[in-house]
């Protein structure tokens, strides 16, 4: 009988109170209104109560935009403060004001023999040219690797071998083979984009639900119809993800591609400025590359929402 009584919640709470009075509400009434710091930290990582329209326990639930804005603002303020106070030499870190001023200057007067628009135009031509080439080659080859064992056996060792290599490692070889003109620059970026795009297309093909293929065959589909109406459609979400990852690799490789014998380009501009220790131009170039890459990624995400609304459902 006593054992049963002790199991009721009331008895347990009472026991807890006498054993550890420090945690009881009578001693610290403040707990009722505002949570303590450890509690707030714990709340950040607990499932927490659900807002209307959300579902309980979904990972990473809730909005994060406000936090991101705060992060960016704090970083910019910190940058401004340390430079305005003169704690860091402008050679290492110029002030944001100097960078913006340099942006206007180069926008009108240019840098190293080309205007900012020319630099940007050349870089976009190289990255998006390589991206377009990769789209018309990597996606078909990736799909072929998914649906055909011969194609998979043929391309798998080639892609898997060069994929982890840093582009700088095979840059000299590309230059020896293709010279120092535009072709070698675009090919270098193209190679960086090709692998992730082909592998995503292949993974997309592999992710098709076998029931959907069976259903199509049971309705009289030919092999070609199954590829066209089921496999290609099913692979589309992953192909789009591959395109996003691919163009990211393209921007990453841009600076390496513009290292040798470039007359213009954002990567060239950054490298050239670094040689003459014009740090504000270096930072400006990085920011411009970042903004263009980000805008294109937003465009891709918009396309994703329009083209594959069923993704993840």
């Amino acid at each position: 009988m006593i054992a049963t009584k002790a199991l009721t919640p009331k008895a347990t709470m009472g026991g807890g109170k006498t054993a550890a009075p420090a945690f009881s509400k009578e001693v610290r009434p403040r707990d009722k209104k505002s949570p303590t710091l450890p509690q707030r930290i714990r709340n950040l990582f607990s499932a927490g109560p659900v807002m209307p329209g959300e579902s309980y326990g979904a990972p990473g639930r809730g909005k994060s935009l406000a936090i991101s804005v705060v992060t960016a603002t704090v970083l910019l303020l910190l940058w401004y403060t340390v430079t305005a106070a003169g704690w860091i030499s402008p050679l290492f870190l110029p002030s944001p004001v100097a960078v913006v001023e340099r942006f206007w200057e180069i926008l009108t007067d240019g840098f190293a023999g080309a205007s900012l628009l020319e630099h940007t135009g050349w870089s976009m031509y190289r990255v998006f040219g390589a991206f377009a080439l990769a789209m018309v080659t990597a996606i078909p080859i990736g799909i072929l690797m998914g649906v055909n064992r011969v194609a998979r056996g043929l391309f798998d060792p080639i892609i898997e071998f060069y994929r982890p290599l840093p582009p700088l490692a095979y840059l000299p070889l590309v230059i020896i083979w293709l010279g120092i003109g535009e072709v070698s620059k675009i090919v270098l970026i193209y190679m960086a984009i090709f692998a992730p795009m082909a592998l995503s297309a292949r993974a997309g093909v592999r992710s098709v639900a076998i029931e959907q293929i069976h259903a199509a065959y049971s309705m009289g589909a030919s092999r070609w119809q199954v590829i066209r109406y089921i496999i290609l459609k099913s692979a589309l979400p992953e192909i789009l993800t591959g395109m996003r990852i691919g163009v990211g690799f393209g921007w990453t490789t841009l600076v390496a591609a513009e290292m040798v014998a470039a007359q213009a380009g954002l990567g060239f501009m950054v490298l050239n400025a670094a040689e003459f220790l014009v740090t504000d131009v270096v930072i400006m170039g990085i920011v411009v590359i970042g903004i263009i890459a980000y805008l294109f990624d937003m465009l891709m995400r918009y396309a994703e929402r329009k083209l594959v609304p069923w993704k993840g459902k």
Partner: protein
């Protein structure tokens, strides 16, 4: 019309990591005659779905072979063993429509596009496709949902699209893997009657898997009861409750007939007997 025959079929799945082999089906000999409504009943893991996959052509038997009329559906070629086979289909075909346990709809198509998909594959014109799809969507009660994305529908509605899709394609034989399991009781009864009407009207061969004893008795012209480890057919009954329903159009009356209740108890005792044996081993 042609009949579907299963000749000495066994299906053995290889064991995991060199473990024991699983005999999913053992020495099945079975024929579905033209116009028959066959229902398979049995506990989970007794090979019902494996049997359906064999008929659909999604898997091949380890031993034996299957024929539909003069064509071999799957298994090694057996021209020499006394069956005169004219051709080999080997695999799925549009003469055997399938309704899947998990609808298997295409999320990039809306309800009507999913329903008419088979006709589109066969090159039927858009106007005719839409008309035929609309007819069956109306029958399953989805006439107001033509343009809805299928991933926004409830599970029961998705399953109804799957049934409409199979019917629109007008196969000779329908293979249904627990098609009504996800539906609410009312819709379930409506669709039971719909399937019986389609069967009566078109004389399609039906192979229908279910967990519900009552549904099995109500739908079947022949009921097979299967038992696991190894999967085999243990009992077979010829029934006519579906015919009685088609005469009187009163499902509740049929389901409360004394013969129906007696039969239900008999089938339940068979299944429960099986479960006890399974539990003891």
């Amino acid at each position: 019309m042609s009949k579907l025959q299963i000749h000495d079929v066994s299906v053995v799945y290889p064991g995991l990591n060199g473990g024991e082999q699983v005999r999913a089906l053992s020495d099945i000999n079975f024929t579905i005659d033209p116009g028959e409504f066959v229902v398979a009943l049995g506990a989970s893991g007794c090979g019902k779905t494996t049997l359906l996959s064999l008929m659909a052509g999604f898997i091949s038997p380890t031993e034996g072979f299957l024929t539909l009329g003069d064509s071999q559906i799957s298994g090694l070629p057996r021209v020499a063993c006394g069956v005169d086979l004219q051709d080999q289909i080997d695999g799925p075909g549009k003469e055997r429509g399938v309704v899947f346990q998990k609808h298997a709809l295409l999320p990039w198509l809306n309800v009507v596009e999913n329903t008419e998909f088979g006709l589109k594959l066969q090159g039927v014109g858009k106007k005719e496709r839409r008309e035929r799809a609309a007819r069956f969507l109306k029958l399953v009660g989805l006439e107001d949902f033509h343009r809805h994305p299928v991933y926004q529908l409830s599970g029961g509605m998705q399953q109804r699209v799957g049934i409409a899709r199979a019917l629109t394609n007008d196969p000779k034989m329908l293979l249904l893997d627990e098609p009504l399991g996800a539906l609410d009781a009312l819709t379930r009864e409506v669709l039971q009657e719909l399937l019986l009407d389609v069967w009566k009207e078109t004389q399609k061969m039906m192979f229908f898997i279910t967990h519900s004893v009552e549904e099995a008795l109500f739908m079947a012209s022949r009921l097979i009861i299967m038992s696991p480890r190894p999967g085999r057919i243990t009992h077979e009954f010829r029934l006519d409750f579906n015919e009685r329903f088609l005469e009187c159009r009163d499902a509740r009356k049929v389901k409360s007939m004394p013969e129906f209740i007696t039969m239900r108890e008999e089938v339940l005792s068979i299944i429960h007997g099986d479960e006890t044996v399974g539990g003891l081993h």
